[in-house]
């Protein structure tokens, strides 16, 4: 065939390869907007503004759930009795001294995991798969733990946390409950979503 003689195979391979690379780059670039379209929209992000909540009505031993970024945030007014139990639990916990820095701000890296000892502020989502744990505050034997000192129990996969949101060993959840950024505006109001430093 006459055509055989005029085909430059090197040039053909080069053209095929460059066309494939340019076309491939085009396809990848075209895919980006579709992938980005799945990210939280501007409206969803705007809904994540800080919230100020009134805690004056929360009595000792009570828990109230507030919504911040549509996440449930637990605010617990812990009794001295409950606080006294925390230390004794250390051997049964996975991370008793809150050494995972991702789970709380610096100002909550302390034995009570809070700014003021009695006030616990944590995101009420199990660190296993994100269910809302139940608040089981009473110091009494429970079906899931005969030696219960009060805390949180996740109904989904039975993870347990103490009243500082610290996770027990041997449960599915790998981390302590997260403490969100927050600060006290005055004795009866906290703002969730803003660090004390930023609030200045």
């Amino acid at each position: 065939m006459a055509n055989e003689e005029v085909v430059d195979h090197g040039r053909r391979r080069f053209l095929t390869a460059t066309t494939a690379v340019v076309g491939g780059a085009g396809v990848i670039a075209a895919v980006v907007p579709f992938i980005k379209s799945w990210e939280p929209s501007a409206r969803a992000k705007a809904a994540g503004a800080p919230v100020t909540v009134d805690i004056s009505a929360i009595e000792a031993g009570q828990k109230v759930t507030f919504a911040w970024r549509s996440l449930p945030v637990f605010v617990v007014n812990r009794t001295t009795d409950q606080l006294a139990q925390l230390k004794g639990l250390d051997p049964r916990l996975l991370d008793p001294s809150s050494s995972d820095t991702g789970q709380q701000p610096k100002y909550a890296t302390n034995p009570t995991r809070s700014i003021k000892p009695e006030w616990l502020v944590v995101i009420g989502l199990c660190t296993h798969l994100g269910c809302v744990p139940d608040f089981v505050p009473d110091i009494k034997p429970e079906p899931f733990d005969a030696n219960w000192k009060g805390g949180f129990f996740c109904p989904c996969h039975k993870s347990r946390y103490d009243l500082a949101g610290r996770v027990f060993s041997g449960v599915p959840a790998p981390k302590n409950l997260a403490v969100p950024p927050y600060h006290f505006i005055d004795d009866s109001h906290i703002q969730i979503g803003v660090d004390p430093k930023e609030a200045g």
Binding site: I35, W38, E39, P40, S41, A44, G48, T65, A67, R69, S70, L71, P72, L94, D95, D100, T127, H128, L129, G130, C131, V132, P133, D134, P143, F144, D145, A146, C154, P155, C156, H157, K158, G170, V171, P172, A173, P174, K175
Partner: protein, 433 residues
């Protein structure tokens, strides 16, 4: 009249000469072994349910509202106000559960008779892909009514991706399009459920059938009829132990369809929620992002895999091991053609070890389903008052996890190192003439 029909036929054959040969290849001249038994109903029944899901699904979209604010009420509207809407919805929800019933039985048939073995590995892999897509399809469909179990089911399943190191939390937000399952999540799940995944599913089903028709069907004896003697009543070239799919197996399958539809109709009319197994009670309350249902559990067909997830604890500060175990349970099934190195296909002629292992696999799978569905956490206190439920449930569940994964380890060792003592495989199917 006959003349008119044949002229229409000729008209098509001239313009699409490939149609009749394709019809013959897949129907009248698809020669299948003649010894199919009850276990061979479930492939065609799966097709039937697929058609049911597509047809009822199309009609459901005509009244369903895709928004977090309206979805729950629109489903109630379908149930109460739309003429026959309740029937269409129950056909769809019952169909979803029955889909998994027939698919599980279909898969068990494949393992039992060695249908996954050479030369049908591709058929098996395509089947496993169908199973994966089907699980995604079922999960997203379950989210659409936006009941409280829909919401929390979505939350838990999406959070599985959050256990992946480094990119996890970004990935979770990307999937949800928000910080929690929300309107954006519902809308994209709807799009995937009604168009993207069904397209993929249909394509895979067609490929599954094409791949099957290339190599031919296996049978309960695991005998290769293609390599046996030739010459049957219809064709001297074709295997003696095979019969044309149409009309023989189309008629057989129709009998199965009649039986199956009777059972399905009974469920649809008399027990559509199936005691909370097909439609969970907690899903009859609207989604609430601040209250988790007290007994959160997935639909029954996910419970064995969910139990594996639950039974594997966290190590090294991450919960990913349970997720790996859960997906590994499916991956190992897909790899079965390369794990099971035994030459003999059918359980009828395989060693005692394989039979026992298969029994252990089925028992562990069912038991894990019970653990995942929360049945064991109710039975333990009822049968053994005073026992520590969590400890005993974990012990039992972990034993069953070992049973499930043990099947694959055992079968590999058993067949790879020649421990299996098989019986002689006959030349022809055991049921002939």
């Amino acid at each position: 009249m006959a003349n008119a029909f044949s002229r229409i036929g000729d008209w098509f054959n001239e313009r699409a000469p490939g149609l009749m040969p394709a019809y013959r290849k897949h129907m009248t001249e698809y020669y299948a072994p003649k010894n199919f038994n009850l276990w061979y109903y479930f492939g065609s029944l799966a097709l039937l349910v697929l058609v049911n899901q597509i047809v009822t699904g199309i009609f459901l979209t005509m009244n369903y509202k895709t928004s977090a604010a309206e979805a729950f009420n629109s489903v109630e509207y379908i149930m109460r106000d739309v003429e026959w809407g309740w029937l269409i919805r129950y056909m769809h929800s019952t169909g979803a559960s029955l889909f998994f019933v027939v698919v599980f039985l279909h898969m068990f048939r494949g393992i039992m008779y060695g249908s996954f073995k050479k030369p049908r590995e591709l058929v098996w892999i395509l089947g496993m892909l169908i199973f994966l897509v089907l699980m995604a399809e079922a999960f997203m469909g379950y989210v659409l009514p936006w009941g409280n179990m829909s919401f929390w089911g979505a939350k838990v399943i999406i959070s599985l991706f959050g256990t992946i190191p480094f990119i996890g939390s970004t990935l979770v937000e990307w999937i949800m399009g928000d910080f929690l399952p929300a309107d954006a999540t519902l809308n994209r799940f709807f799009a995937l459920h009604v168009i993207a995944l069904p397209l993929v599913l249909l394509l895979l089903v067609v490929l599954h059938l094409f791949a099957l028709h290339e190599v031919g069907s296996n049978n309960p004896d695991g005998v290769d009829v293609k390599h046996g003697p030739k010459g049957n009543r219809w064709n001297p070239e074709k295997p003696i132990d095979a019969i044309p799919f149409h009309p023989y197996y189309t008629v057989k399958d129709l009998f199965g369809v009649g039986f199956f539809i009777t059972i399905a109709a009974f469920i649809i009319f008399f027990a559509p929620t199936f005691g909370g197994w097909f439609l969970e009670h907690d899903n009859f309350t609207p989604a609430n992002n601040l209250v988790t249902p007290s007994h959160i559990k997935p639909s029954w067909y996910f419970t064995p895999f969910y139990a594996i997830l639950r039974m594997i604890p966290s190590f090294f500060g991450t919960a990913i091991w349970g997720v790996i175990g859960m997906f590994g349970a499916i991956l190992l099934l897909a790899l079965l053609p390369w794990i099971d190195k035994g030459e003999v296909r059918s359980v009828r002629f395989r060693g005692l070890g394989f039979r026992i292992a298969l029994g252990v696999l089925v028992f562990s799978f069912l038991a894990l389903g019970m653990v995942g569905a929360g049945v064991t956490s109710e039975l333990i206190p009822a049968w053994f008052p005073g026992a520590d439920v969590t400890t005993w449930e974990n012990a039992f569940g972990r034993l069953m996890v070992l049973g499930y994964f043990g099947f694959f380890v055992f079968v590999w060792i058993y067949t790879r190192f020649g421990f299996e003592k098989t019986k002689p495989v006959p030349e022809r199917v055991t049921m002939h003439d």
